[in-house]
Structures are given as C-alpha cells and as structure tokens.
C-alpha cells in the first residue's frame, strides 16, 4: 500500500508540472495584463506599459517566470493578484470551500438519487419503471446545465420567489446550483448503476443469497450493491474533473463565490498568478480525489486489496 501511494505521488508531481506549464504558457498567449490593467485609457504611453510589466515581473523570460512560480508553490506562496495585490493564497482560501461544498453537495444528491433509481430500474428490467427511469435519464442528459440553471432561476426565484437567485447565503442558496449540477450527474449515474447492477444480479452468488431466504432489500443492498460499486466509484472519480469544469458555468449563473468565478475573472483580466494558483489547486484536488478512489477500490473489493 505504501509503495502504491508513493508511486501515485510521483505521478502527481508530473501531472502538476504538466498542468501548470500548459496553463502558464497558454494564458500568456491571450493578451497583455498591462493593457488590461490600464483599462484602455488613452493617455498611456508604451513606456508606462513597460513600467507596469516590469513591476509585475513580466519582462523576464517565460521560463524564469515559470520557475519562480514553481518555487512559490513549494513555499506555499502563489504570488499576488495583478488586480488589487491580494495574495492569491488568500483568494483561494476564500473561494475553495464554496466550490468544494457545492461539488460535494451535487455529488451526494446525485448518489442519493441515482443508486436507488438505478437498482429499481435493474430489478424491473424491461418493464415500465425501467423504461420511465431510462427516458428521464435521457431527458436529464439532454439539458445543457446553463440552460437548466436559467430555467430554475426563472421558476423558483422570479415566478415563485421562494429561492434566492444568486450568491451563497444559507442552506437554501445551495438548492438550485446543486440541483443543476446533480441533474446531469444523476442522469449518467443512474444508467451506470443500472448496467452494473444488471451484471451483478445475474451472478450466481445473488441466486445463492436468495436461496438462503434473505429479503430482497438485503440481497440488493448488501450482496449486490457493493459488487456493483467499483464502476460507479471509478466514474465518480472521472466525473470530478468534469464537475469542476461544469462548475465554472454554474458559478457564473448563480454568482457563486467559488473557484470557477475566480478562474473566470482571472482569465478575463489576464491575472496570471490567480489563474495559475486556482488551476494548480484544482489539479491537486483532482489528483487527491483519484488517489482516494484507488484506495476505496481496495476497501470495496478484497480481491484488489491483496494484489
């Protein structure tokens, strides 16, 4: 196990290097932060811009800038925002919990919905509950999340006026963003649980469990679910990356003070340190989640543990 985690950490270093290198390089192709800072004011000379660049350290060659950024990561110092000079670590410390809360809330809602629905569909394979669940899942898959978000705001905030349209204040503010994110996750997870359950339910040990006289609930949730969990857990790990991507849009719509909003603003402002910082932290999180998932495999299935 220790060897396994060591291997994963070595891999993680390369992933972080690759991700940060690409992000740092790519954002420098998109425009000049000095120009963004002066906001297009007419009276600025080339010399003024040069001075700004110098003060931001942008006159140095790319690799020097990149290396100093890496050096900063090692000491926990991501630099200061170009806009206002707030330390990036502080910005992230404020935004990260908001995003993680939203991500986990969506994930949990999706699991709570998709596991029983998927199992129900598998048990009633080919009959009308199964058809209904499959059609609903297809409908859920077909909604673009920004559209769904806007429709929810229209309905619950504007027409009914029961939920706040934006911001993060109180538990009710989670409902719409989490629901938006959870819809598409649930739609895919239901199908995954259904397929994986069907496979498990055809196994001999399920018939053995039934022949022992166990209740359906015990057969399904004790004997079958754990055996079907591996594909689901794998997919949730993969989804986490997509979840983070999707969150940028959902955070925009609901004006959620999270990492997505932070990254979006950083891109618009060419705020290199903030963008590099957010992306690095998100990449680390995705790596961490996947490491946890690999450990979870072993907990779920003893056959993987002994390998």
């Amino acid at each position: 196990m220790a060897g396994f985690i060591l291997k994963r950490l070595l891999q993680a270093i390369f992933v972080v290097l690759a991700v940060t290198l690409i992000v740092s390089f790519a954002i420098r192709l998109t425009g000049d932060p000095a120009v963004m800072l002066v906001g297009g004011a007419g009276s600025v000379t080339e010399q003024d811009l040069q001075n700004i660049r110098q003060s931001l350290g942008l006159e140095r060659p790319f690799f020097v800038q990149y290396l100093s950024f890496l050096e900063g990561i090692l000491t926990g110092d991501f630099g200061k925002s170009f806009m206002g000079g707030t330390p990036v670590s502080m910005l992230i410390a404020r935004a990260l919990p908001a995003t993680l809360l939203l991500a986990f809330a969506s994930l949990i809602v999706s699991i709570i919905l998709s596991v029983p629905l998927g199992i129900y569909a598998a048990v009633h394979r080919g009959r009308w509950p199964d058809q209904m669940i499959r059609i609903l899942s297809l409908v859920g898959l077909s909604f673009p999340n920004f559209w769904l978000a806007i429709m929810l705001v229209l309905l619950f905030s504007i027409v009914l006026g029961i939920l706040p349209p934006s911001g993060m204040e109180g538990p009710e503010s989670f409902v719409m963003p989490a629901l938006t994110m959870a819809t598409i996750l649930t739609a895919t997870n239901v199908r995954l649980v259904r397929t994986s359950m069907l496979e498990t339910l055809s196994q001999q040990y399920i018939m053995v469990a039934r022949s022992k006289g166990l209740r359906d609930r015990v057969v399904l949730y004790k004997h079958a679910l754990r055996n079907s969990a591996i594909p689901l857990v794998t997919y949730i790990g993969l989804q986490f990356g997509g979840l983070i991507g999707g969150i940028v849009i959902v955070e925009r719509v609901f004006n959620w003070p999270g990492m997505g909003t932070l990254a979006f603003d950083a891109i618009s402002n060419r705020d290199y340190p903030v963008l590099q910082g957010t992306i690095t932290v998100l990449a680390l999180f995705i790596i961490l989640i996947n490491l946890l998932i690999d450990i979870a495999y072993g907990l779920i299935d003893p056959r993987i543990r002994t390998e």
Binding site: Y205, S211, K212, G213, N227, P302
Partner: protein
C-alpha cells in the same frame, strides 16, 4: 412412476404436474412440462438429463427461485411437508413464508463454486448470515457455529478460514464452504445442482463423500441434479430422467441402469463412457452410439478397432520440454515467484497415434499443447517435428509448422468468431497459409470438409449462433483439418459436450484419424474418454509426467500412486459396483514456487517395455 399411495403420503416433497415457462422474444418457451416426482425423507433422488432437459429449471422452481430468472410456474403443485404434518404448496406460498423455508428447511448448492460465494464478504460472514437470519443466533454464537460447520465439511484451520475471502480458496474448498452454508440450519431437503461438475475428479470424489456422510448423519433428503451417470450410480437411491422438459422415466437406481425403459434413457446410458469397458483389449475401439431420432433411439456408427498407429518413425518428439511463467513482482520489478507449468517433459507421438495427456488443474497439460502450437514460448528443451528442431527453424518454417499442427479448443462457443460465417472460419487457415488461391476451389474444399465432419455444404453460409454445441465442435474440427495437418491437439475438446454428443464427436475424431492418418495429442481430465480413444497415455502431475505407457498398461496395471488415485476417483456408471474403499484426501498442490526453489525432477523407470513410471519420493506416496 409406480408410487403407492402409502409412499406418497409420507413424501417430504411432492412435485405434482409442474410446468414452467419462460417469456422469450419469440413467445413463450416451455422449459418444464407436467413433471411429477416425490422425494422421501433421508433419501437421494437424482434428476438426470442433458443441457436443455429442464432439470436445473425444475430444481430452481421447487424453491420458486425461477421467480427471479423470468420463469413462470404455469401449473402444478410443489407440496412440502417439513414436519410430516400439513403440506405447504410452495407454488401458492407467500413471499414471507417462502423466505422462512429457503435456507432453513430447503437449501441449495449450485454448480459453480467459483462464483457462488460473494467475493466481497468473508466466509464467516456468509455462513453466519443464514444462522442469524433463521436461528436467531447472535454474532459470536453464529461465528462459533460457522466454525463447527467448516470442520464438519473437513476444512482444516476453520478458525482462520472464517476471516478469509472466497478468492483466497480453491474451487474444492469453496464448494465445501457452500455445503457448510447450505447445511447450516439442518435443512430437511438439500438441492444440489451439478455440485461437482466444475471440479477436478479427485476433488469431486471428496465432495461426494462429504455430501453422503453428512446426509447420513443429519438424515437430509437430497435432490441431486446431474448429467453424469457415474455420479448418479454412486449417489442416488432413485432416479428421474428428464428429456426436453419432460420426465421420461423414474425408477430405483439399479433398475434404471439394469433395465432402462424409455428409449432416451437407453440412448443416454449407451453413450456414457465406462471406465474399464475396454478391459483386455489392446487397441482403442469405435462403438456405435444410440442417437435419438424423434422418439426412437437409433444406433449410429459401427464397431471398429482403431489399428492406425505406425510405430516406425515419430512425427513429434518432445525432449525435456520446460515452460515456466513469471508471476509476482516486487516494487522494483524483480520476479519473486514462478509457475513451473511444465518441467522436463519428454514424449513421442507416432503417425496415426493418439497420445492422451491426462491430469488435473495445474498439471501443465494444457501448457504443453499451447507450447506445441507456438502460443507459448518454452523455457527449455527441444521439440522436433518430422525430425526437424522447432527451436532452430526460420520464422517462415515455424509458420509452416502451424499448418501441420492444428488445435481444437475446449469451448466450441468461444472459439468461433460470431461475426464470420462458418464457411469463412473454416476457409481461414487455407487463406492464411496460401494453400488454395482459387475462390471456387476453396469453396469446394470447405464443402468437402463440412461433409467429412457430418455437416451439410449449405451450412457454410450460416453463422455460429445457428448451431448447437456439438455442431460447433464439428465446425471447429473442420477448421482444424482445413490446412491438412499431421498432428491435431485436442484440448478438452469433448469435455463441455453432453455425453451423447461427446460419444459422436469421439467417434468422428477416430474416423478422421483412420482416413487421414492423423496423430492426436488428446488433452483431458476425463479418464473414461481417454480409455476409449487413446493408444498411449501420459499421466501428468504438477508439470511432470509420472506415468507413460500403452492404454492397456495404464488402465489395467497402473503403477504410480497418483495414477491409481486418479482412476479410483472416477465415478463409475454402475450402481452394482462396490464403492471404492480408498479415501481420497488433500488439495491439488500449486505449481507456483518462489524463485530459486526448483522442483525435484522425477527419474523414470521402465517397468515393462514402453511402460515408464516415475520413481516416487516418499512424500508423494504419503499424499496419495
């Protein structure tokens, strides 16, 4: 069929006119039609039949487990009298009542020990579950009782086994756990659906012994579902024969074997290979097989001695062949363990001869076949084909060798590409080796091959799923013959087939051998088939040959203790015969060894001309 009313009234279980249907895409399929039988307390009823006969569906329907497989009981009763009192009709019983009976009064053992235990729970957990459910035991009591049960099925080290997971156990051990689980609540009736079919023969003998002993001890009635007439003869008091969903015969076991009434029973019994049936005869022999034609059994084939072997110059010479695989690596990629699959094995095969390679799991017999077919690279030793060293051949010559040595696999369902027509599959070796380039001539050749294996030319256009298992194996044989090989390796090629089909395929192989002077390397675990088909036999144990000789010498004068053990373990399809007194114990050891620990190579001794026996170390003799 001749149940007196008196016997009926005391029956533990009475199945009355039971019919079961399955809904399929093309309407309903009647799997069981109007079947009735009784099971008496403490007695064993064998339900026999071939695949598709409805025997397994019947066994599932008794506990209404067909509810979960899409089956529907359309008529009939299953009357169960757990305490000799009021009968409960399980067909009408509520789900709650059924759950009380399942696992408690009626328990079941299934065919596949590898998949019948849940891989993610410990053995202890899975046995205790039943005890907690039905007997109201608490965690600790249940665990202690589970340990006692494991000891009852003769599993060593029961305490530690409780915390183990199924994948850490061999197939035989898992089946014992399954039996322990089934017997946990002292059921009145045990339904065993092919419980030993997937096991090695020495392990099968042990499992049968355990079931028999426990049945006597606990007074359990047993319904034994099987296709193996040998197992029937050893286990059953009464027999029900099923065919195409119907019961065609029911009688006490001796009567079924001595005077079968229904033509299907006669056909079935005639097809069963019987160990010792060629006693005193030096050559293998083709015998007619009874095949069902409508409702009558007709003999197919003739009696013919297989005098085909030509012992002047061997076609294949294997000398000290060794094949090892690396398994288990450290963090830095260093090998820690090796599978010693084949260790210094030597034998020859002559033109027109069948050499049988017999042994159990892990004996290395299949690895030898794969090495000869160049699917696996040998670690050492030489293989000569027609006098030429395979190891010294050019890549082109090696490719040509693939044309001379062909392979027939075990599973006729998996070894044909479902997306290609049968004709294409048969023509493929001809195309690959560039034997016939003219398309018309190739087609003619495919038709000719189909004809030789007993199929029709128009079958060439069809796809594998349109054929039965036996027909598919015929197609596989046609494909193997397409490149005009001299040697055919048949790896368990008839093991997965029903006995009547098996007998026909064995006859076909022998017929083709005579026509084409083919040599066979016949790899199998089935001693009865070996006796019928082979000229010489090599017995393998843990990667080495322990005995090699003519078929007659091996079967009539076995010298090595493992050969004797193997022969003693085979169930004989004759209920009159005394049960073998030898108690077989112990697992089959593993050929995996830590690096640096080489196995000892047995030296061979010639006890009679051509009859070689490994000189036994005391440890081996003790294990037998």
């Amino acid at each position: 069929m001749s149940d007196t009313p008196n016997r009926q009234s005391e029956a533990l279980l009475s199945v009355r006119s039971l019919s079961v249907e399955f809904g399929t895409g093309q309407g309903t399929f009647k799997a069981v039609k109007d079947v009735s039988f009784d099971v008496q307390p403490g007695r064993t009823l064998a339900v026999v039949g071939e695949s598709g006969s409805g025997k397994s569906v019947t066994s599932l329907a008794i506990m209404r487990l067909t509810d979960y497989t899409g089956g529907r009981i359309t008529s009939g009763q299953v009357l169960f009298r757990p305490d000799g009192g009021e009968a409960i009709d399980l067909v009408q019983a509520s789900d709650a009542r059924l759950r009380e009976i399942r696992g408690n009064d009626i328990a079941m053992i299934f065919q596949e020990p590898m998949t019948s235990l849940n891989p993610v729970f410990t053995i202890g957990n899975q046995i205790s579950e039943t005890l907690i459910l039905h007997q109201g035991l608490k965690g600790r009591e249940a665990r202690l009782r589970a340990r006692d049960l494991l000891q009852k099925v003769r599993l060593p080290d029961a305490d530690r086994l409780l915390d183990r997971y199924p994948h850490q156990l061999s197939g035989g051990m898992r089946q014992r756990v399954m039996i322990a689980m089934a017997l946990a609540c002292n059921p009145k009736l045990l339904i065993a659906d092919e419980p030993t079919t997937a096991l090695d023969v020495t392990i099968q003998a042990q499992i049968l012994n355990i079931i028999r002993d426990l049945q006597q001890e606990m007074g359990t009635a047993v319904i034994f579902i099987t296709h193996d007439m040998g197992v029937v003869a050893e286990m059953a008091d009464d027999v029900v024969v099923m065919w195409k969903g119907e019961k065609v015969e029911q009688a006490p076991v001796r009567d079924v074997f001595a005077s079968p009434q229904h033509p299907y029973t006669k056909a079935l019994l005639s097809a069963v290979p019987r160990l010792g049936s060629l006693k005193g005869q030096p050559l293998p022999k083709r015998t007619p097989v009874m095949v069902m034609d409508g409702n009558v059994a007709k003999p197919v084939g003739d009696t013919h001695e297989q005098n085909t072997a030509d012992y002047t110059k061997p076609v294949l010479q294997v000398d000290k062949l060794t094949t090892r695989f690396d398994v288990g690596k450290t963090f830095f990629g260093r090998v820690t363990h090796r599978v010693h699959a084949v260790e210094e094995v030597s034998f020859d095969i002559y033109p027109g001869e069948t050499l049988a390679l017999v042994g159990e799991s892990g004996s290395g017999k299949s690895t030898i076949g794969r090495t000869l077919q160049q699917l696996v690279e040998p670690t050492g030793g030489t293989v000569r084909f027609d006098g030429r060293d395979m190891g010294a051949m050019s890549p082109a010559d090696r490719r040509r060798l693939r044309q001379e040595i062909q392979y027939i696999f075990q599973d006729p369902f998996a070894s044909l590409d479902p997306r290609h027509s049968v004709g294409y599959s048969i023509a493929e070796p001809i195309i690959v080796h560039g034997l016939i380039n003219d398309r018309k001539a190739r087609e003619r050749r495919v038709h000719e091959l189909l004809d030789q294996v007993g199929l029709l030319p128009q079958h060439a256009k069809r796809y594998p799923h349109e054929f039965s298992g036996g027909q598919r194996q015929r197609i596989c044989i046609a494909r193997a013959l397409a490149s005009n090989p001299k040697l055919v390796i048949a790896d368990e090629s008839v093991s997965a087939l029903d006995v009547s089909i098996q007998a026909q395929i064995v006859n076909l192989l022998m017929e083709l051998q005579e026509k084409r002077k083919l040599s066979y390397l016949f790899i199998t675990h089935d001693m009865a088939v070996v006796e019928k088909i082979s000229h010489r036999v090599a017995v393998m144990y843990l990667g080495q040959i322990v005995e090699l000789g003519s078929r007659q010498a091996i079967f009539e004068n076995p010298q090595h203790s493992y050969t004797r053990k193997l022969l003693a373990a085979v169930p004989i399809a004759d209920p009159q015969r005394e049960r073998a007194s030898v108690r077989i114990e112990g697992e089959i050891p593993s050929p995996v060894r830590p690096v640096g620990q080489e196995p000892a190579i047995h030296r061979m001794r010639e006890v009679a001309p051509g009859h070689w026996v490994a000189i036994e170390a005391d440890s081996l003799r003790g294990a037998a």
